[in-house]
């Protein structure tokens, strides 16, 4: 086995996996994990750790894997990251820990994410859950059960607070449950990882929409002494081009929620329906777009396009997702911008009118600005369109909480380090503050807010 490259991740063969929703990446076995762990040179000043938003002691947990002491390894991991089976699977490692790994200077970096996943999976099979703990401290309310809310709740419970999570949906997990597909993040793993977090003594109330069922002010009236808002960025953006309300046009949020949370891929056994065309265009090139495209393929679409106005270099998706999408035959139409969705008389989608783009000078995001090439319009014949061009924060909480300051895009304004908002006792973090970002950043924000909430409640006496 070459020492210059990561040990490859065993995967389901392409021909099979595009016909099912089972996980694509199968995970290392013990031998491979130990061999990969030995590629880490155990730096004295490990640069990788600086790239991890929650500061996992990466060399230490890898060292324990190399020694075959998986139980110690998971302890080290869990002291900093309560959802390792999830992060090992979905972190954009190439931009975080692995980006800074010294082995990566000359060769491929150590496969930190795969190793994290390996130990977390090992624990789920081999270590018995401890059972539900009970906490009796001051009451804290957490809004939303995505990675930010879950982490904040878990940390506070460990400190002895009596935490209640309020979740709008009938199941906890946020994007982990309704957004990221089964074939990339099995829902059973999400459920197990959430359960072990709730076992720390956190109470979960599903089917409660804060701002509608109960307002933030009313939470205080009910005896909660602090509130953490981790309500995410769930409001789908559209393109505002003609034809967007035709039948057969979805937001990626709706498409993925129907398939993941509501299991429409098992229709009619599960009751929520979904429509997938024979030819589907997905607009956008982030993780959400890749997930939507690969999902459409699995639901039987014969041709699936990614339509993106910039070039490959600017695509925001994780490397692995783009790689898998290409393997699965997703067709990339880059430097292409949709201008109109075309429909037939009955109001169903029949095509996507696009224009070619070229890259000009860098814009405010530092990426080269795409400019339309005059006269280059063309039509893609499709009968399904999925819009995956980003999400903003949901307005229900700001609308019902006038004293909570928000930005002009509707994000809750909160201190970067502590999550403190303009309202006394109210903290916020994750996508609702930053806009759509990553699982591990949301977890980092949840953790920092937990520390700040503890401080606040101690000072309050």
């Amino acid at each position: 086995m070459s020492r210059t490259k990561k040990h490859p991740m065993p995967c389901q063969p392409v021909e099979e996996r595009i016909k099912n929703f089972s996980e694509v990446a199968l995970g290392y076995d013990e031998q491979t994990a130990i061999a990969e762990a030995k590629r880490c040179i155990q730096c004295k000043n490990p640069r990788c750790v600086q790239g991890c938003p929650v500061g996992i002691d990466i060399p230490q947990f890898i060292q324990k894997i190399a020694e075959g002491d998986f139980e110690s390894s998971i302890e080290i991991l869990k002291s900093k990251n309560s959802l390792p089976a999830i992060c090992g699977r979905v972190c954009p490692q190439e931009d975080q820990c692995e980006k800074l790994c010294v082995v990566g200077i000359k060769n491929e970096p150590v496969a930190i994410g795969r190793l994290e996943r390996f130990v977390a999976d090992w624990e789920r099979v081999n270590v018995k859950p401890k059972g539900k703990q009970v906490t009796e401290g001051k009451k804290v309310a957490v809004v939303g059960s995505g990675p930010a809310g879950l982490t904040c709740a878990g940390e506070l419970a460990k400190m002895g607070y009596k935490v209640t999570i309020f979740e709008a949906f009938h199941q906890p997990g946020g994007v982990l449950m309704y957004g990221i597909p089964e074939f990339r993040l099995p829902k059973k793993i999400v459920e197990e990882e959430i359960n072990s977090l709730l076992d720390l003594g956190v109470e979960l109330k599903t089917n409660v929409v804060i701002g509608q069922t109960i307002t933030i002010e009313e939470l205080f009236a009910e005896g909660y002494e602090a509130v953490f808002i981790g309500s995410g960025a769930g409001l789908p953006y559209f393109l505002n081009i003609p034809g967007e309300n035709l039948n057969g046009v979805y937001s990626a949020n709706e498409f993925l929620t129907r398939v993941n949370l509501m299991r429409a891929y098992l229709h009619p056994d599960w009751h929520t329906p979904i429509k997938v065309g024979k030819k589907v265009a997905v607009v956008g090139a982030g993780n959400v777009a890749m997930d939507a495209a690969r999902t459409a393929k699995r639901l039987g679409a014969e041709e699936v396009y990614i339509v993106y106005r910039r070039s490959e270099e600017e695509m925001p998706a994780r490397e692995e997702e783009v790689h898998h999408a290409k393997e699965e035959g997703i067709i990339f139409k880059l430097l292409t911008n949709p201008v109109e969705i075309l429909g037939n008389e009955e109001g169903w989608v029949t095509g996507l009118k696009c224009i070619k783009m070229e890259l000009g000078e860098p814009d405010s995001s530092g990426r080269r600005r795409p400019i339309p090439v005059e006269g280059s319009e063309f039509q893609l014949d499709v009968d399904g369109v999925i819009i995956a061009v980003g999400q903003g924060p949901n307005p229900l909480i700001p609308r019902s909480t006038p004293s909570l300051e928000t930005s002009k895009w509707g994000n809750i304004i909160a201190d970067e380090m502590t999550g403190k908002t303009s309202m006394e006792g109210v903290f916020a973090g994750g996508d609702v503050v930053t806009g759509a970002a990553t699982v591990i950043k949301a977890m980092g924000a949840g953790k920092n807010a937990a520390i700040a909430i503890d401080q606040y409640l101690k000072n309050k006496g």
Binding site: A168, F169, H170, T206, N207, V208, V209, Q212, T213, I214, G234, L235, P236, F238, N240, E244, N245, N247, G248, Y250, S251, N253, E254, T257, R258, M262, R263, L266, H267, P268, D269, W270, H271, T272, P273, I274, K275, E346, G347, N394, P395, L396
Partner: protein, 280 residues
């Protein structure tokens, strides 16, 4: 929570249930709705809060069994528990300052128009009501509507009760009789709301309808309930469901409601019978 306390069969496929839901009852206002899930593998679907009792902590739902989800709900009996129930969702209907309002309910739309009429009546507004159904067996809430209305008109398609014809016929009579109408609130099937809207537009009468768009989450997260109003796109679940009627693209809404017609036929609604949820 979510236990069914009362059940009434209003007509063979039209049912009314009273559900224990204190958190929802405490907040509910006319115009708001809930989203339910009745089965482990079931879909999320919306129903209007037809009535509520804040003291008892209950809400009333009235529904027409049209497909799998509503049939599964209809199969539940007193003592059974609704698996998931979330609300109140949507905005409370904003009534304009008005002396006289005509409230129109078509079919099962009488259920959502009743709380509107009741609230207006309690605020001292004169309510004139028109309720319409295909035939007299499908009429319900006649007494309830009478209590809150100064005048009540009934129309049936076949003439088996009240005036033969549509609710728009009765409305047109009122308009032509010279009655001063400040506002019309019309709730019912999309084609009915469209017809009312077209009529009142002609006479320049301010009109509110409540849209029954396709919904999944009901919290603004999926965009499935989007509706074109003038030049704007709104989400019916968080911006509505009630909207001023005259610039709504009703044809788009009717078309969107047909999106899953074929798929909906495939769902077997018997699946729930063996595995009801009993409160433990």
């Amino acid at each position: 929570m979510n236990k069914i306390l009362e059940k009434k069969v209003l007509a063979p496929t039209l049912k009314q249930i009273v559900v224990n839901a204190p958190l929802i009852a405490r907040k509910a206002k006319a115009g708001q709705f809930v989203i339910l899930r009745v089965h482990e593998r079931g879909e999320r679907f919306p129903l209007t809060i037809a009535d509520y009792d804040r003291e008892k902590g209950t809400i009333t739902l009235i529904f027409q069994e049209v497909g799998a989800s509503t049939k599964l709900l209809g199969n539940l009996e007193v003592g059974d528990v609704i698996l998931d129930l979330v609300g109140p969702l949507g905005k409370a209907t904003k009534h304009p300052h008005a002396k006289r309002v005509v409230c129109i309910g078509g079919g099962v739309g009488v259920a959502p128009v009743y709380p509107e009429a009741k609230e207006l009546y309690e605020n001292g507004v004169e309510v004139i009501s028109i309720i319409g159904a295909r035939n007299k067996d499908l009429l319900f809430y006649v007494d309830e509507m009478k209590k809150v209305s100064k005048e009540l008109y009934i129309t049936t398609d076949d003439g088996s009760a009240g005036r033969k014809g549509f609710v728009t016929d009765a409305l047109k009579d009122l308009i032509l009789s010279g009655m001063e109408i400040d506002c019309v609130i019309a709730i019912g099937p999309m084609p009915m709301m469209k017809a009312v809207s077209n009529l009142t537009k002609e006479y320049g009468i301010y009109t509110i309808v409540s849209l029954n768009s396709l919904m999944v989450d009901g919290t603004g997260m999926c965009g499935g309930c989007r509706v074109t109003i003038g030049n704007e796109v709104k989400f019916a679940c968080i911006d509505g469901p009630a909207f001023e009627a005259h610039s709504i693209d009703f044809d788009e809404q009717m078309r969107r409601l047909r999106m899953y017609q074929e798929e909906e036929k495939l769902v077997d609604c018997k699946c729930g019978e063996a595995e009801k949820n009993v409160e433990n």
